[in-house]
């Protein structure tokens, strides 16, 4: 449905998008994930035709979109801060795209009523948009973007400004809604939880480049780089050298690596679950802090040398701050990074 080939956007000296390639298949939901300033929003604006690309091609359903203005691209974009038209009521906002495409008044009214039902705001058509809560505005913005049946729906931080419980509920609702409608969706967010819950496939961006692409599970299990690992919240990363024998030499001592790892220098990531506190562990650490995380306790450990480690412990048996513990690494939770 959507293909980007070598899309580059520069703002002065800064390169917002650097030769980005990206594909979104029909009925697929793709989430672009990245820290702020990584070029996510620019990506959406280029696809929508609101931002000219300095180089590269944008193809929608195989057609090059060069020179096609935003209003003829047939894509939908839900803005980060909604951008509802303040002088129109809810129905007027939702109907805007239909009217712009020449849909008759009566038919537009029927579609609007149906969409308001769909987003859980039945009968809200006459309300002023200023009188809506943040969550309601989000729903109206969604209904407005869906109304003209865009061939590609783009969402910019779709749940960014909502409180946590509302976000979690809406993610589930959106996912089932897109599944039912068969919508092709390209969303951007900085929140990995949101991206993993919403997307069939995630694209992680860094400084205008694609850092990794894959299903949420693939990305989570095998981060492709130290940047991706750290962005996903993994902090137990050190440099090491593999010299055969299935272990890497690091400042934390010997860390087992998966079989078949080539020899040479590499990065080593140990997921917190793989940092085991055992009496006969090789690495001695002091407990620096404990953070209660609901179903487990995150324990921060300071080894004799090298960076601090995070271990995930069961609620019962987590060591006290200041305690001295010994650590061993579980091979299945170790990921070798380039």
């Amino acid at each position: 449905m959507l293909s980007l080939r070598g899309v580059t956007v520069r703002f002065g000296d800064r390169t917002a998008l650097d030769a980005v390639d990206l594909d979104v298949a029909e009925h697929e939901t793709v989430c672009v994930l990245g820290p702020s300033g990584s070029g996510k929003s620019t990506l959406l604006r280029v696809v929508a035709g609101l931002q000219r690309a300095d180089a590269g091609r944008v193809l929608l359903a195989g057609e090059d979109q060069r020179g096609v203005p935003a209003h003829r691209r047939g894509v939908g974009l839900m803005f980060q801060d909604h951008q509802l038209f303040p002088q129109r009521d809810v129905a007027g906002n939702v109907a805007f795209g239909l009217r712009a495409r020449g849909v008759g008044r009566a038919e537009a009214a029927r579609t609007v009523a149906g969409l308001l039902d769909l987003v859980g705001l039945p009968g809200a058509g006459r309300r002023a948009v200023a009188a809506l809560s943040g969550g309601e505005q989000q729903r109206v913005a969604l209904a407005r973007a869906l109304a003209p049946s865009p061939r590609l729906l783009m969402l910019d931080e779709p749940l960014g400004q909502l409180d946590r419980s509302l976000r979690e509920r809406l993610v589930v609702e959106l996912r089932s809604l897109f599944g039912r409608l068969g919508t092709t969706v390209l969303a951007v967010t900085h929140d990995q939880g949101e991206a993993f819950a919403l997307a069939d496939r995630v694209v992680i961006m860094r400084d205008g480049r694609v850092a990794q692409t894959g299903t949420p599970l693939e990305v989570w299990r095998r981060p492709a780089s130290e940047f991706v690992a750290r962005f996903l919240g993994f902090e137990n990363v050190v440099r090491g050298t593999v010299a055969g024998g299935g272990v890497a030499d690091t400042v934390w001592g010997k860390v087992p690596v998966p079989e078949g790892t080539g020899e040479g220098e590499c990065g080593v990531l140990v997921r917190p679950g793989g940092v085991r506190l055992v009496p006969d562990g090789a690495l001695e650490c002091r407990v620096v802090s404990r953070t209660f995380r609901g179903d487990h306790v995150a324990v921060r450990l300071r080894p004799g040398g090298g960076p601090e480690l995070e271990a995930s412990c069961a609620l019962a048996g987590a060591p006290e701050v200041g305690a001295s513990v010994r650590v061993a690494f579980a091979a299945e939770d170790v990921v070798v990074l380039p």
Partner: protein, 557 residues
């Protein structure tokens, strides 16, 4: 997308802006630059040769220095006095809520759109021979500079209240609260948080007041007597009474240069103000005054408004009824006939109402079209071209109206532009003054429309034209109405240019008032007052209608 494609799209945007600017540019070229250039060159040319020596002679003439010095210091003094009296007013209107506030805000604005001639008459009735102060205490101020200064305060009070107060009302009080929580005292919080935010607005207001008083004509003409003359008055006298065109031309150039400098400074401060502030809804920031100090401040501001603004207006109205045989409508009845006023008029003065209203309506239509297009072209602030255009639009406010009026007469008198006998000449001159108001009112509103709203419309399938019609227009509709009202009011009150080009049998209200004032005799004087009252009423009604449709985000006037 490759480079050529990108450039062609960029060129398209520039082309659209240039297209929007075409009509305003043509308008200013033909009806402002050309007449002004024509009169200046006529003054400076003799026997087909440029006489640049005249410039040196006039500029070094002690009389010129005298006029220039008076023009500058009276403008500075007027500005200082206006700020001192109006800044507390701006605060009260911005932060306090009290009954009758919107009515009072309209009243305060009446003088600003009143014709200078009427304001002059009002002060004459208050301070002049046989005026209220004269009758009560035998005090006359009409030939002193105080009369001029007070009249200028009367005029420009609204500029400060609206420009500074309008912004003050939209400053988030929580900013000051944040400073208080961080340990700043009440005054320190105001000085370190609010004042820096307001300073550019105060500077902009001060410059506007300075500009208006620097080019003051009608007020000084009426109240200044033989002793005091501003550049503008001097230009009028050299042109119309002494017929010394070369001197008038040089003085015009001097004023032009001074005003251009002022406008540059003004544009700078305005741009800074627009750039930096985040504003909140003005309705949420005002509250009832609390405690003796706040009530005292409110009372003091109200007293100043009553003394400075209401009193002159009331006196004017009273004078108009104060006939030779006690209070009555003698003067009003006399307005209806052309016969017994010593040949001042070919027609009954009352007919001037109809003339004024129809001229002003035509001028409003012109100003709204020209100013609206200009504002649309200026919405995206970028490029030297756009900024230069912005400054050009303000120039007529600061150029001698007398020069423009006389320039019309000598420049637009031959084919293809022979407009001497056309009624459109007067509305064209009035529209020149109206356009800056339309632009200044529309521009902040147009710029406040979030460009992403237009993008949202585009993504939903609306073409740029449709997006403009459905997104921009509904949001600026009110501003358009307000700017039309202002253009109407200032056109109604325009005097300096109209006095030259209005035909004797079709005088406007301000011209008729000036003619009546220029004649001796109680009947003429009384009629002038009566006609001024009528003019004031027409203005006040237009303004109250304005106040009804006015939004909080509309412009600086």
């Amino acid at each position: 997308m490759s480079r050529p494609a990108r450039e062609s799209e960029g060129n398209r945007g520039t082309a659209v802006r240039l297209g929007l600017m075409a009509l305003p540019l043509a308008f200013f070229g033909v009806f402002f630059a050309y007449p002004v250039a024509a009169i200046v060159s006529r003054g400076l040319k003799a026997d087909g040769h440029w006489q640049f020596g005249r410039i040196g002679e006039v500029v070094t003439d002690p009389a010129t220095a005298h006029v220039l010095w008076f023009t500058i210091w009276q403008a500075a003094a007027s500005t200082a006095l206006t700020l001192a009296l109006a800044l507390p007013g701006a605060y009260v209107f911005a932060r306090y809520d009290f009954p009758g506030k919107s009515l009072l805000r309209a009243v305060v604005t009446v003088p600003f759109v009143l014709p200078t001639v009427v304001a002059g008459s009002a002060f004459l009735a208050l301070l002049g021979r046989g005026g209220l102060l004269d009758e009560l205490w035998g005090v006359r101020l009409d030939t002193t500079v105080w009369a001029i200064l007070l009249a200028h305060v009367f005029f420009n009070y609204a500029v400060v209240v609206r420009t500074v107060g309008g912004l003050w009302a939209q400053l988030d009080p929580r900013q000051e609260e944040a400073a208080r929580v961080l340990g700043a005292g009440r005054f320190a919080a105001w000085r370190r948080v609010t004042l820096p935010a307001l300073a550019p607005a105060v500077a902009a207001a001060a410059l506007m007041v300075f500009l208006f008083t620097f080019t003051s004509f009608g007020t000084v003409q009426i109240l200044g007597g033989p002793r005091y003359a501003t550049l503008e008055v001097e230009i009028y006298q050299q042109t119309a009474e002494l017929l010394d065109l070369p001197t008038a031309a040089v003085l015009t150039l001097v004023q032009f240069a001074a005003v251009a400098v002022l406008l540059l400074v003004h544009a700078r401060t305005v741009r800074r103000r627009e750039a930096t502030l985040r504003l909140v809804d003005a309705r949420r920031t005002a509250r009832r005054p609390r405690g003796a100090a706040q009530w005292t401040l409110l009372a003091a501001v109200l007293a100043a408004v009553v003394l400075l603004i209401l009193l002159p207006l009331v006196v004017l109205v009273l004078r108009s009824f104060d006939g030779p045989d006690g209070y009555g409508t003698v003067f009003y009845r006399a307005l209806a006939s052309a016969g017994d006023n010593g040949g001042t008029f070919v027609v009954a003065p009352l007919e001037a109402i109809g003339n004024s209203v129809s001229y002003a309506l035509a001028a409003t239509a012109i100003a709204v079209v020209v100013g609206g297009l200009a504002a649309a072209a200026l919405t995206r602030r970028e490029g030297v071209l756009v900024r230069g255009f912005d400054a050009l639009l303000m120039l007529p406010l600061g150029t001698s109206a007398v020069t423009v009026g006389f320039g019309f007469l000598i420049a637009l008198d031959e084919p293809p532009l022979d407009l001497r006998t056309s009624w459109i000449l007067v509305p064209l001159a009035q529209a020149l003054v109206g356009v800056p108001f339309v632009v200044r009112t529309m521009l902040p509103v147009l710029r406040a429309v979030d460009p992403r709203l237009r993008e949202a419309a585009a993504v939903l399938g609306a073409s740029p034209l449709r997006a403009w019609r459905e997104v921009d227009l509904p949001m600026v509709g009110r501003a358009l109405a307000v700017s039309a009202g202002f253009a109407f009011a200032v056109s109604l009150g325009e005097f300096g240019a109209t006095v030259f080009i209005a035909r004797p049998d079709r005088p406007t209200l301000p011209v008729a008032v000036a003619r009546l004032l220029g004649r001796p005799g109680e009947l003429n004087y009384g009629q002038a007052m009566a006609l001024s009252t009528v003019l004031m009423l027409v203005c006040a009604v237009a303004l109250l209608v304005l106040e009804r449709v006015r939004t909080d985000r509309t412009g600086e006037f």
